[in-house]
Amino acid sequence: MKTKLRHSILGGIRRLLILLLVAWTVVSLVTLLIELVPGDPAVAILGEQATPEQFAQFREKHGLDRPPFFFSFPRDQNGERHFAWHGADNRYTDYWSALLRGDMGLSFRNDRPVISLILERYPATIELAIFAMLIAVAIAIPLGVIAGTNRGTLIDNAASVVALLGISLPSFVIGPMLVYVFAVKLRWLAPSGRFEWSDIILPAFTLGAALSAILTRMVRSSVIEELGEDYVRTARAKGLSERTVVYKHVLKNGLIPVVTILGLQLGVLLAGAIITEKIFGWPGLGLLLVEDGIARRDYRVVQGCVLVISMTYIVANLLTDMVYRWLDPRIRVS
């Protein structure tokens, strides 16, 4: 018992160390990727017509006049490269200190701290991801159970076809098609924006479609597998109705893998939300990243968004892992 406890504590510390290492790498990558930008960000933001003073002022304000990293290999007058050490006064440490200060740097465009731009948009993205997940579950569980309990029948095949369509049709095809049907033709819902409560329906369905397809397949195979277990025969032998057997016994055990997938998919949904938000003009992190960040070359905003999305993803995966271990003791032991 004692060794087991020590084992799990050591394992936990190891996982935490890896997590910190990964987080550090993600931040470093995001910080250093900005150096790959072709051309001068100052020119991209201010335009060719700006005066040299304006350029100098912009570069100074955003630290672009400072060396990118602790060292570099600048060319001297003869065109040869030499090693140069810059010490702690560089953009890499600048960004870290901006993170630790909690403002994530200033937006290149409007001088607002990136963190406040992100906090404005974050709730909309989470709202969208949660609704997408709810819709996916609401579709997948009944469809998967019906398909699994009627294995091999017409209903099962029809459910499989629907699920396959959901997997193969990407959101940027489903989304505009939904806009066409429900906004352009039927005029039931708005094509874009986030004003009425009903505005979330189309984006959430679009974002959740692929997930609901994946979940349907999982629930189906899970139900089929559990139906073959001994406890199902016992439950039936006790004279329980088929309904009770399926929904009380089979589904309860069959949902464990589904919970894992749900957690892991949260990150996929966050990334997918970038596309969905663009389709529906949904003012979340994805739209901030694509329209304010990438399209307007506000690289500070790009850095912040990428960082926040990946950190959310890492934390979601960690929580999933913990819930999974707690749900299924068999995994805890191994």
Partner: protein, 271 residues
């Protein structure tokens, strides 16, 4: 082989032929605009109708197959190659190499949702076909590396490998001649699913304006151009046909991948 796998192979064969002979098959110039001919519905002259600038959608969908397959093939080939080398070396030698590759690199790459890393890279590098391919390869190799590493770990312990080692075979020979051929089967499944993934990612990035720049007839670009409300109202077919093309391609590669997996691993057949 089940029916769906065969359907998958047929669709892919058609796609390859269409992509190879696009110049002969496409009836119109893909960039010839004609505002008098815009928003035409599907007809005998324009099978898939015309778009908002009067270009023939059928011809553009056909040339789009070329972009999709090219991206898919290059991305899958390069990522599978890098992934195989990394996975094989890490699985075979173990030790600190394995700790760096599987303990660190795998975790770092899995910490990003794949699409996000591609978007971030293209955002900083700038849009373009080659940069898109580069970004997809950088996110793509990890899946293959994990797969091959697991396989190598398993095959490494087999008797014939021990026998080869006892006979004095070199590491390179053991790895290349004895282990890899026995470890590579699942890679074929992964590659097929990887084609579907690459085609989807290319279309997604192009849709976001981060992939192949317009007026290139990437299916993603065509969908992006077809989704503004006036075009949707006047010509929904401009959205539907490239959408069907993407869905069929992805479906076909998924069918092939699933079919091959069942074929190679009979235990999965009953599900």
């Amino acid at each position: 082989m089940n029916r769906l796998t065969i359907i998958g192979f047929v669709i892919v064969a058609i796609l390859v032929i269409v992509a190879l002979f696009a110049h002969w098959i496409a009836p119109y110039d893909i960039s010839a605009t004609n505002l008098a001919m815009r928003y035409l519905p599907p007809s005998a002259e324009h099978w898939f109708g015309t778009d908002s600038t009067g270009r023939d959608i059928f011809s553009r969908v056909i040339f789009g197959a070329r972009i999709s397959l090219k991206v898919g093939l290059v991305v899958v080939a390069v990522s599978a190659l890098i992934g195989t080398v990394m996975g094989a070396v890490s699985g075979y030698y173990g030790g600190w190499v394995d700790r760096v590759v599987s303990g660190y690199l795998f975790n770092v790459f899995l910490a990003f949702p794949g699409l996000l890393l591609a978007i971030a890279m293209v955002a900083f590098l700038g849009a373009g076909l080659n940069k898109l391919i580069l970004a997809l390869c950088i996110i793509g190799w990890v899946g293959y590396a994990r797969l091959i590493r697991g396989q190598v770990l398993k095959v490494r312990e087999y008797d014939f490998v021990q026998a080869a080692r006892a006979l004095g075979a070199s590491d390179a020979r053991i790895l290349l001649i004895h282990i890899l051929p026995n470890a590579i089967q699942p890679l074929i499944v992964q590659a097929s699913l990887g084609m579907a993934g690459a085609v989807l990612s290319e279309a997604a990035l192009s849709f976001l304006g981060l992939g192949v720049p317009p007026p290139a007839p990437s299916w993603g670009v065509m969908i992006e151009e077809a989704r503004d409300l006036s075009t949707l109202q006047a010509a929904p077919h401009a959205l539907i046909f490239p959408g069907i093309a993407i869905a069929l391609t992805v479906l076909a590669f998924n069918f092939i991948g699933d079919g091959l997996r069942e074929y190679l691993d009979p235990r999965q057949r009953s599900r």
